[in-house]
């Protein structure tokens, strides 16, 4: 017997065995139908022989990802859920492009359009829904399309290729995703919505208004209260006429006004049908041999139009099929809009009214709106716009009906804030989720499944995506999956946005935002209000908080010395032997005999073992004892010198070249501009150190293109460069823009500095910051928006008006003497306690 014979023999055996099994026939090769089969196989793969009929000519794909396909963010291959191999491997007979047209319940057969008749023991109806097409004249014209399957997407893409105008009828989830995709594909899109506000079933007025504003900013026209009277055209669509007489031109009309459960087959064969095919808790229809699942069913008077309920239905259905019934009890749903950059979440009932209470948080400047609706101390609904991170948490509280009286005051700030104590750690919060908590809504993957995948060897996000599909679709659960990786594998995995430190579950950005949003004024207040888990922070969060407050409240905030690293407290750099180095400012690298003499004198007078020219065009005096610092400073002050902040997260040096005053190539007064820039920016506290340079021509002798802010002078003006770094990871600057005058160069420098001061994270230099937020963003804020640039400049100069006191002078005059002197000194014997 050779290899092939044996193989064929085995296959034949398989078939005989299979034929003996009861036959499960599935109508509908969509999300629910295939999922039900997957669930069944997971429980008992050998129990049924399975045949699936699909009307579409495809394997099962993720329908909700059609929006990204339309938008060009995904390809069809990327949204396939079950490929051909899956059907083959599981012995499933897949019949595509051949819809079932008749069910004969008495004979227990189904017959397809091509005339194929197949007998069943159990039948599963999973026919989904059909788009509702409003019955207006012209609805049959070419170019009027629903948005339901890949064929619709292909037709939209064909129309979009020609460009022109598109009208989307329906301003719900589906319509807005269609409008987004078509806009990205280059069409000019008008959305017609019959109600006064968008997504009125998911959003309240405030959130809908924010959404409308954001969509309009992206170039869409949104007409609310728009009632379609007629679609006009001759063969092909040409436009839409509203009842008020307006006419909107269109070469494509997408109908996204709603869906109707696809129940024709069920109705014709006499099954009980309401709005959908009626099923019991085990997804069994009025005929015990016939089951139904998905959008086509009505359970307990409800029909659903989202995937999350399907997963639950499929579980109950499979449990029933293997005779371990559990039962489906209905679903509470939540929705998200999958449009990049627009975070919209809603769940439950937010109509308000009798006995309900609203908690609302608005952050107008960041476009954030959150509303949680309570009834008898339980969450019954939530609408989030702009920041949806806590959607899952509210949803969970709502589903579990938890009493939130204790959390009430902090509920709106989200889980991290409200849970306080031991649960401020987001990892702990995720670890505490129950195994059946759904992590990935798109693919219906529970926490238990993700953890099992990780335990099975999926040690990276990609591996998890490949193994259990969590986070593989819209990606909104990526953060959760990363946390699960971290919780399961410990520190072997890099997780998502980092919290500031172990004292808090907030990120730097969260803290900065809350300081401003809540008007927090001191470190203890921040720690109190943001639920720090340690009494007074640690050596990494304290300096950051001190800086954030200083930046937010110039002139008002009282600097906390104890929250500064020793260098900033002693205004000098600590050395490995505990002595200090002192670097006075030399404006733009210029000096004079008087300054040089004073430095020489200090070196001799205080026995400084070394004096050195630094890489920043000035002199560094090494080996000064902290006791001597005030006297050293007094001597330097006397010669007109001030602190060079060589020790600070602050403006360091402004390097210059000789420029037009001496150099045969110089185009502008680079030295003079450097001095002016240093006079403007010195003393400013920053997220990290900040260096400037000005070169007099493109030969760039001052190395301006590896500085945080660099100016390269040219004949016609000044090229402004940002985000350079010459340190550990060298980065060449990006060109911000070119300006004509010194005055402008100064203004852009101030604006850029302030933007960095206000928005970067503590210890993030401009190079990584610019890379993180993108040069385009910086340009938008500074170059393209004059008003904003001027406002930033104003804020910078305002803040500078409080920070340009020489810290050395005050110390030299006696302030904080104790920092430089021992508390007491004593001899071993006899003991003398002396000051």
């Amino acid at each position: 017997m050779d290899f092939y014979e044996q193989d064929l023999g085995a296959a034949a055996d398989d078939r005989t065995v299979q034929a003996a099994l009861p036959h499960l026939v599935v109508i509908g090769n969509g999300m629910a139908g295939c999922r039900a089969v997957e669930e069944l196989l997971a429980r008992d793969a050998g129990r049924y022989r399975v045949t699936i009929f699909g009307a579409e000519p495809h394997v099962n794909y993720n329908r909700i990802m059609l929006s990204p396909v339309l938008a060009g963010e995904k390809t069809f291959d990327e949204i396939v859920i079950n490929d051909r191999a899956w059907y083959a491997d599981n012995g499933i007979d897949l019949i595509v492009a051949d819809p079932v047209e008749r069910i004969d319940r008495a004979a227990k057969t189904v017959t397809s359009r091509s005339g194929r008749t197949v007998a069943y023991d159990r039948l599963l109806i999973a026919t989904g829904s059909d788009p509702f097409i409003i019955p207006v004249p012209g609805r049959d014209l070419h170019g009027v399309i629903g948005f339901r399957d890949l064929h619709d997407v292909d037709r939209m893409l064909a129309a979009a290729e020609k460009g022109g105008d598109a009208v989307v009828i329906g301003g719900g989830l589906l319509g807005l995703e269609a409008a987004h995709g078509l806009t990205l594909r280059g069409m000019k899109v008008t959305v017609l919505h019959i109600m006064p506000t968008l997504m009125e079933r998911q959003l309240d007025e405030a959130a809908a208004w924010l959404l409308k504003t954001a969509l309009e900013a992206r170039g869409q026209t949104i007409l609310t209260g728009a009632d379609t009277a007629e679609i006009v055209g001759d063969g092909w669509v040409e436009g839409v006429r509203l009842k008020d007489g307006r006419e909107i031109p269109a070469s494509l009309v997408v109908m996204a006004v709603g869906i109707r459960p696809s129940v024709a087959l069920a109705r014709e064969c006499g099954l009980e049908v309401g709005r959908g095919v009626k099923v019991d808790d085990h997804m069994v229809t009025s005929d015990p041999a016939v089951l139904a699942v998905g959008e086509c069913v009505e359970h307990d008077g409800l029909v659903y139009g989202l995937v999350a309920p399907l997963w639950e239905m499929c579980r109950a259905l499979a449990d029933g099929l293997v005779e371990q019934p559990t039962g489906y009890r209905g679903s509470v749903t939540s929705t998200k809009l999958k449009v990049a950059g627009l975070d919209v979440f809603s769940a439950g009932d937010f109509s308000g009214g009798e006995g309900t209470e609203d908690i609302v948080l608005r952050d107008a400047s960041r476009g954030i709106y959150k509303r949680v609706v309570l009834k008898e101390d339980r969450v019954v609904g939530a609408v989030l716009y702009g920041d949806t991170a806590d959607g899952g948490w509210y949803f969970d509280l709502m589903r579990k009906g938890e009493d939130v009286a204790m959390l009430r005051d902090m509920l709106i700030f989200g889980q991290a804030y409200a849970s306080g104590g031991g649960r401020t750690d987001p990892k702990a919060a995720v670890a505490a989720l129950s195994d059946d908590t759904e992590i990935c809504g798109c693919n219906g993957v529970s926490k238990g499944q993700v953890v099992a995948a990780i335990a099975g060897g999926a040690c990276s996000l990609d591996a998890v995506r490949a193994t259990c599909k969590a986070s593989a679709s819209c990606g909104s659960c990526t953060g959760l999956v990363e946390t699960l990786l971290a919780v399961t594998l410990g520190d072997e995995v890099e997780s998502g946005p980092k919290t500031m430190c172990q004292c808090t579950s907030f990120t730097h950005d969260d803290v900065r935002r809350e300081i401003v949003a809540q008007g927090l004024r001191s470190i203890p207040e921040v720690m109190q209000r943001l639920h720090w888990s340690t009494p007074d922070g640690c050596s990494s969060c304290r300096p950051a908080l001190n800086y954030y407050l200083l930046c937010a409240l110039p002139g008002d905030y009282e600097d906390d010395q104890q929250s500064r690293f020793v260098n900033e407290r002693l205004h000098a750099n600590i050395q490995k032997d505990g002595t200090y180095s002192v670097v006075p400012r030399m404006w733009g690298g210029l000096t004079n005999p008087r300054e040089l003499r004073a430095i020489a004198d200090v070196v001799e007078k205080y026995h400084a073992p070394m004096v050195k020219v630094t890489g920043g065009q000035r002199l560094d005096i090494f080996g000064i004892r902290k006791e001597d610092l005030p006297a050293v400073w007094a001597d330097l002050n006397a010669a007109g010198m001030v602190s060079g902040h060589a020790y600070g997260k602050a403006l360091r040096t402004v390097k210059t070249c000789v420029g037009s005053e001496w150099c045969r190539f110089g185009t502008q007064d680079s030295t003079g501009l450097g001095v002016k820039l240093e006079k403007m920016t010195w003393g400013s506290w920053m997220p990290h150190k900040f260096k400037i340079a000005v070169s007099g021509c493109p030969r760039n002798c001052a190395e301006a293109t590896i500085k945080d802010f660099g100016v390269v002078c040219v004949d016609s003006g000044y090229e402004l460069h940002v985000g350079g770094n010459g340190g550990m990871k060298v980065r060449v600057t990006d060109l911000l823009c070119k300006v004509a005058t010194e005055q402008e160069a100064m203004e852009y420098c101030a604006a850029f500095t302030q933007l960095y001061r206000e928005e970067a994270r503590y210890l993030e230099r401009t190079a990584p910051w610019v890379e993180r937020v993108g040069l385009d963003y910086v340009k938008r804020r500074i170059v393209e928006d004059e008003g904003n640039r001027k406002a930033l400049t104003r804020r910078f100069l305002h803040s500078q008006s409080f920070s340009q006191d020489d810290p050395w002078a005050t110390r030299a005059a006696g302030a904080d003497r104790q920092l430089h002197h021992p508390m007491a000194e004593f001899q071993p014997m006899p003991a003398v306690a002396a000051e």
Partner: protein, 112 residues
């Protein structure tokens, strides 16, 4: 009179969440710390890592972060925390009527 405890000054001469030093002639300098909750600790002013002056570090909770390489030292035991190993000698210290007292014997030991 020479007591067992040496009076080195008022507690409020030490900044809250800060430290002062007490040089010991012929011996090792002592760093005296005051924490946010009003407690006082004393350690040799020398990090077990590479001798950094602990008195110059950021004080948080009952720990100090060494200013040189950020080791976290427990004030009560002098023990390096986290993964780091090493210990700074502790010197018994107490408060009496607002005065800070250091244990003479330990200071002497440090000096010896």
């Amino acid at each position: 009179m020479i007591g067992d405890w040496i009076d080195i000054g008022w507690v409020d001469e030490i900044p809250v969440r800060g430290s002062r030093t007490v040089p010991v002639a012929g011996g090792e300098e002592v760093a005296v710390f005051r924490t946010a909750d009003g407690k006082v600790f004393a350690l040799a002013n020398r990090c077990p890592h590479k001798g950094g002056p602990l008195s110059q570090g950021i004080v948080h909770g009952h720990s100090v972060a060494c200013p040189l390489h950020n080791w976290q030292i427990a004030l009560a035991t002098g023990e390096a925390q986290g993964g780091d190993k090493g210990c700074a000698p502790t010197i018994p210290v107490k408060l009496s009527g607002g005065r800070v007292l250091l244990c003479r014997a330990s200071t002497l030991k440090a000096a010896a």
